[in-house]
Symmetry: C2
Subunit: 903 residues, 2 copies
């Protein structure tokens, strides 16, 4: 038997079914499935996708046997329709449509009304008594066939039609009479002859052959190739070709056409939803020339059809177990379903439908979890612009933190705070932000920077605050002194209004209307469904009690990363830390000398010699201790009963020093040293590559007292909070560890300090000490490191920087080009580079658990809130992910999807 | 039978031998070995090292059975010596010495003349008729026993002796009469009683027991523990205790003592060498009070003894197959050998002895290779200071490049060049150096920097030039404007003379005499022996024909790293590259637009729009091309027939721009742009972490034309040189690759350009394209990358930086503390971190060779010239190492040693 390439459907029977999408395309498989279900579908046949592949392989030829097989199916179709191709008395008209396994809406070609010719038209007129209808479909067919199949531009036909309308002095196509349309048809044929070089083909079979080839060819047209590339669609054989009997909704008042949804696609409510037009073709519903009627009206207009339709809707939704988007046509009071597919829906609707379908026992929870995309959820959590508002886009940057912000431009943090107090909405605009800008960022409604990438300071902090941010707008030239910025020739001054779209990265001049996010009741229910499906824990990155509370409301099960450096910038604290930095070297020298000293006398002399530094350093620590303690108390209370991972001081000390001359002078005055001293310290602490510099636990190796103070603050806070009856689970995390000996030295200091606190307080509390794995060497030697670490947290921001050799603050200059040219599929600071960095993560987990069974492992880099990275974390067996508060729901969903997909 | 713990040697028989060092210590094993060989060694016994371990384990107790075993051996010794412990008539005197498996010179305790007491002394006087000798050895014994065994400070005894000398009005101990010494002995016993609280023990057995314990205890005294820690001596059981019959060289004119070497330890000549004193004890030879006589004299003075001694020397050298350093004593015309050990020697001697012994067929080549340390070779290759010269050390930095330099301080490169032209010797002193300083560095005789580590720019370049350099002198405060520097309160001005010891890192005020390196004829022969033993190839890092030639003279088998960026700084070139940088963005934009353009007309318009940038960019490339081509021609010629790996442009572009205002103004003037334009470009190219920034092949992804120009220059040069009949093996190396797609894109551009050259020239030449593996991700995905790379070269400088998260320019601030505290055993920029970075290197090699069988793999980081790293490279199966020219001989030796050790 010859190889089967064509699949028939009709009269309640079909050779294909819904599972055969790969071979029949989505449309073909669904038409077959519906036919088998007894749904009234116009009959037809599907030429399999493999034919498309064979066609290209063999140099644009049909495989042998195909022609005969098509002929056989035409015969079958003619029999089923009781009509014949090119038979004027009883003509069969067909549509020829593309349909690949994955939907590529509008990308490939379609030919309708195929089978018409000069004789058939006469037959149709005789049969329908409707000459206007007949000439109308004929002229449409010539236009479509000429354009799609023969490459004769639609505009040539359009010109003829326009001339006819002008001549007839009418506005609409539908106002042309049968006679006038007949004239148009004649003129169309002339146009066709002129541009194609041949007469318009009168033979239906010949028309069909050409149309099938045209559909197959449309698989390889530019826009289709681009679409597949953009949407990462690979591995398909090609498009199928669906040849289906035409039905007409425009043959009279007992005809009609419409689209319907089994549920409301905009809010998800369970109700029949849709619209239709009487005496119209499908394209008229979409075109908007006539206003379609709501589906409800059909109940009065054609009650029988309405009942039939709603029954079919219910049946199809039950069958496909998802909300369906259907096309139907009524031809002479007979209902046909032309297409059914899973309906697109808003984020709100997606959640409600998923939740409802679980309640209706239509789908299991696992399936519900897959029905909402993380992107939908994200959109739901942030304000966005009114989609109808006109956008005056002046430039574009990186969409660093989603949302929409409208405000007045300010160029420094102080002004931002001052204006905020006056009730103004401000957009803080900086070349780049630094920790000194925190107050201003908090006061701003949106943040805009000229430099820095998706994980620059601005981006990370903004996402943490759930605040809209656009970063790295490279053609923005900011002039701080003049309080203005230029984008090309456009100048924007302080106080001017701009709008930021943090989701697209677009910067707009003026004010745009925003829509605030709405959280429906279904949201909570959906999140609980996700929670029941996932294995990964979801924690949050939060540095303040406020963030911690918000994250907990979003469902965070603990804090995975509490950064302590932000705590050093507020109010008096910055002066204490600056004072400490000035004294640190001398103080450290004193400690070293004391270590070497052999007699008490000698020790006294040493202490005396360094008394100024000692007073200054220890005084600063004493100032900081109560602040830190109360910070931790607030966070422990907010997270009662949940684990809190506190990362000890991480940034290089120079980040705490002022870099501008006047600020240095202020510091000198306040700390009673000379400006030269301040300048010298700043220059002494200057680093060529601060990312790889003197920071993290390296600070503790050289200045142990800082971590000791922090450890004391954490444990004292834990004891205080515990006293009030609240359960505290403190996890102390040491950053930037590269070697086990380093971890051990630092850990021993911390444990020693904690034991001192326990002794002083005559009370103990459980705690853990673990480490960040963010230096490649830590992952490579994780078996050693796990001997000293009670938990690992992968800091994949830094791990990515070091493994790939990118500075996230600088990579913006070339990373775009890297992603564009396909070197990296996505920005590795957004989605974890699983091939490279992921390999290290896997090694780290394997080695770590080899040395310490059941080692608790999480991720606290920005990737902890990104779906594909969360999927990776699930697969490699992490215990939890940690992300910014606003990403927590997305992480819960992604973790659930990972659990479903990977089982 | 009880466990054996004591090993006897004497009368030509011994229970131990030379292989039992672990159990008997080095000294004990050698005494046993010599005894068995029939060498006249005073008999004795060795208490095994395990006793020491048992002693500490059991809380300072002897293991049971030890006392009886010692008694048995004393009896044996008494029999052998025909004398008895504490027998006044025929007293046995013994020495009690420590001796671990590894030599720890002077670290542990020794007691001599044990067995003396008030009665024995009388017997000795009666026997020797030499009361002075008898009281002299007695007072020495009481002093030593009191001090070493009982903790009664030597100074108490010394005070008595000084008083006696004062009273007798004599200068030297030896001027004291027997009577006076007798009086000293009595007073010593009083001192002993006073401080120890007991009478001086008269029983020889009791003395021995205490002395044995004292020696065992000395294993754990502070200085011994520190010594082991410093020298990384671990895994030893403890010290053995050697109890040996005393012989005396100070009993009269027929007695004597001396040391001798079987070859000249200073130049390696094969001759008997040594010195001796008649009527003296060993310590007198060392003390320098009397001037010892050269060994030759003994031939006349005691011809029989001389002949006997030289025979023994020959015999022992033959037996041990190495130059021996022996101690001998002549007692009443009888020769005793007290010790033999491998003799220390100068670098020159080490080489000559190794080469000679191979020629004498005494040792195989493999053994000869192990006889010279890389450090010795290094010393031989650089000038050094006269060791006798007085050093006025003012500060210390990192010994960044070995050698000695004396010159006048200058603070900028221009002055260095100008003064050099006037014939002055200058030391270029900078806060840090940058590529702009190359000319000045070349002109200077030594380089001194206040910042930067062992692999800072200054250090790397200086080592490449074989030039003395001290880097990272943190207490150096340089004031460029005032042309002076401060070290503490000391001010050094331009023109002042200083001396640098690049081997120790010491900076000295004033001029110190230097000794130039001398290369003996043996050097070449030794190197050839090394070459025959090694498997690893040795290449060099060389950027100029001069360096290439020098390296070839040192034995380099090719260039493993030819950096092309240095070529951009000379003369006009810097202006071309600066001009190119100014135009690059606009030019790049033009290329992108041309790519999108669909018509020729459109293309013309685009070119016209960007015509200024185009002219500037392409003009700069055209200026650079001939320079580069002639650079490569010179290098290819110098390396005729050997492979040359050329690394394409690596540093970020901002390194080529001036950072100081006046230089920027000069650039603006010269390139006819505004100073603001220059400033803007500098600020636009500024990077937070340039190490991880826009450099290496990332430049080629954004500005393809630069690598194209370089590829063209390489291939045109290769074709030109080939034409002159010289064989060229060009290997083009792409730096900073992190992903295979990146490599592919860049490689395709290069191959395309090369094919254009081939077409133009109608001629082809073989070449290779490979990559540096220096980004961790490249090692992690080496299987992918090897598909596109014909060779790998591990750039372990950057690989270390990224894997460990250290910036080599900044790590100086804390790395010292890291090494001190034992977190890292050595500076990972000096010796490859085998545990962490090495793991990545191994992965990279394995994965790379899995994908491409027989992939050629080398190393071109600084580690390529460091012995322990070379050993690693051998073990992981690299093909070659590449290092700076002056390290080539060291690499050849280290590679040979690696081959010997790892087989």
């Amino acid at each position: 038997m010859a190889e089967k390439r064509v699949y028939f459907f009709g009269s309640g029977k079909a050779e294909g079914n819904a599972t055969m999408k790969e071979l029949l395309g989505g449309k073909g498989a669904n038409l077959a499935e519906m036919t088998s279900l007894g749904i009234p579908v116009p009959p037809g046949f599907t030429i399999a996708t493999k034919v498309c592949a064979e066609y290209y392989r063999s140099g644009a030829k049909w495989p042998s046997g195909l022609a005969a097989e098509i002929d056989k199916n035409i015969a079958k179709l003619e029999k089923s329709m009781k009509a014949k191709l090119s038979d004027p008395k009883n003509p069969l008209l067909v549509s020829v449509r593309s349909g690949a396994a994955v939907s590529m809406p509008g990308m490939m070609d379609t030919v309708l009304n195929l089978g018409l010719n000069d004789e058939v038209i006469e037959g149709i007129i005789a049969k329908t008594k409707n000459a206007r209808f007949a000439y109308d479909i004929y002229r449409r067919f010539i236009d479509m066939f000429g354009d799609v199949v023969m490459g004769c531009h639609h505009e040539y036909f359009e010109a003829v039609l326009d001339a006819a309308k002008k001549k007839a002095k009418v506005q609409l196509d539908s106002d042309l009479s049968a006679e006038q349309l007949k004239d148009v048809v004649e003129k169309y044929k002339v146009v066709y002859k002129k541009h194609v070089g041949k007469l318009f083909p009168q033979d239906g079979k010949a028309q069909l052959t050409l149309a099938i080839n045209a559909v197959i060819k449309s698989w390889m047209i530019d826009r289709a190739i681009k679409y597949r590339k953009l949407n990462n669609i690979t591995g398909l054989l090609g498009t199928a070709v669906n040849v289906q009997a035409m039905v007409f909704g425009n043959m009279g008042e007992d005809c009609g056409t419409g689209v319907c949804f089994t549920r409301n696609p905009s809010n998800g409510k369970k109700e029949f939803y849709g619209e239709y037009l009487i005496n119209a073709q499908g394209e008229d519903v979409v075109a908007g020339i006539r206003t379609p009627l709501p589906l409800k009206k059909l109940q009065k207009q054609m009650p029988v059809i309405y009942t039939q339709l709603t029954r079919l809707m219910t049946r199809l939704e039950k069958h496909y177990k998802d909300m369906q988007d259907m096309e139907f046509t009524i031809q002479e009071r007979k209902l046909y379903i032309l297409q059914t597919r899973t309906g697109k829906r808003t984020a709100e609707a997606a959640i409600r439908i998923a939740v409802d379908m679980v309640a209706e026992r239509l789908i299991p929870k696992k399936e519900a979890v897959m029905r909402v995309t993380p992107e939908q959820l994200d959109r739901l959590l942030h304000p966005h612009f009114d989609p109808k508002a006109k956008r005056n886009v002046i430039t574009k940057g990186l969409p660093a933190s989603p949302g929409a912000a409208v405000g007045q431009v300010v160029f420094d943090a102080d002004t931002a705070e001052a204006w905020k107090k006056k009730g103004k909405k401000v957009i803080l605009t900086r070349i780049e932000t630094s920790p000194e800008d925190i107050g201003g960022m908090d006061a701003a409604i949106g943040i805009l920077t000229a430099r820095g990438g998706m994980t620059s300071h601005a981006a990370v902090v903004a996402r943490g605050m759930g605040k809209c941010c656009i970063a790295g707008v490279s053609d923005l030239h900011i002039h701080y002194k003049a309080k203005k910025m230029n984008v090309g020739k456009l100048t924007i001054k302080e106080g001017d209004w701009i709008s930021l779209d943090g989701t697209s990265g677009e910067v707009m001049k003026g004010t745009l209307g925003t829509v605030e996010p709405k959280m429906s009741g279904s949201f909570e229910r959906f999140m609980r469904i996700c929670d029941s499906a996932r294995r990964l824990g979801v924690r949050t990155n939060a540095d303040t009690p406020e963030d911690a509370k918000r994250a907990r409301e979003f469902g965070a099960e603990g804090i995975g990363l509490c950064r302590t450096e932000h705590m050093f910038f507020e109010g008096d604290r910055i002066w204490a830390i600056r004072s400490l930095i000035l004294a640190a070297d001398d103080y450290d020298k004193m400690l070293a000398e004391l270590d070497e000293a052999s007699s008490d006398k000698e020790k006294k002399a040493i202490v005396k010699e360094h008394s100024v530094a000692k007073k200054q350093f220890e005084g600063a620590l004493k100032t900081l201790l109560p602040y830190q303690r109360s910070d931790f108390e607030g966070i422990f209370k907010a997270m009662a009963g949940l684990p809190v991972t506190v990362r000890l001081l991480d940034p290089p000390l120079h980040e705490f020093l002022p870099h501008e001359k006047e600020n240095q002078a202020e510091m000198a005055k306040r700390l009673k040293v000379s400006p030269a001293d301040v300048k010298r310290k700043v220059s002494q602490l200057h680093e060529f590559n601060p990312m790889l510099g003197h920071r993290g636990c390296r600070l503790a190796v050289t200045y142990p007292s800082i971590y000791r103070m922090q450890a004391r603050a954490i444990i004292e806070a834990a004891l205080n909070v515990k006293k009030s009856g609240v359960k505290v689970l403190a996890e102390i995390m040491i950053p930037l560890v590269g070697a086990v000996e380093e971890l051990k030295i630092v850990k021993d200091q911390i444990v020693d300090e904690i034991n001192i606190v326990f002794k002083e307080r005559k009370q103990k509390i459980e705690y853990m000490i673990g480490t960040m794995v963010e230096v490649p060497r830590a992952a490579l030697t994780a078996d050693e490191i796990a001997k000293e670490a009670q938990f690992f947290s992968f800091g994949t921001n830094d791990l990515t920087q070091m493994t790939m050799g990118f500075s996230r603050d600088d990579a913006g200059k070339f990373l775009g080009e890297y992603v564009n040219s396909g070197i990296y599929a996505v920005d590795p600071f957004q989605a974890l580079d699983q091939t490279g960095v992921g390999k290290l993560v896997e090694m780290g987990i394997k080695l770590g658990r080899k040395a310490r069974k059941g080692l608790k492992i999480g991720i606290c880099g920005e990737h902890g809130g990104e779906p594909s990275s969360i999927d990776f974390c699930h697969r490699v067996g992490m215990n939890y992910v940690s992300c910014s508060p606003f990403r927590v729901p997305i992480a819960r969903l992604s973790a659930a999807q990972a659990a479903v997909v990977n089982k």
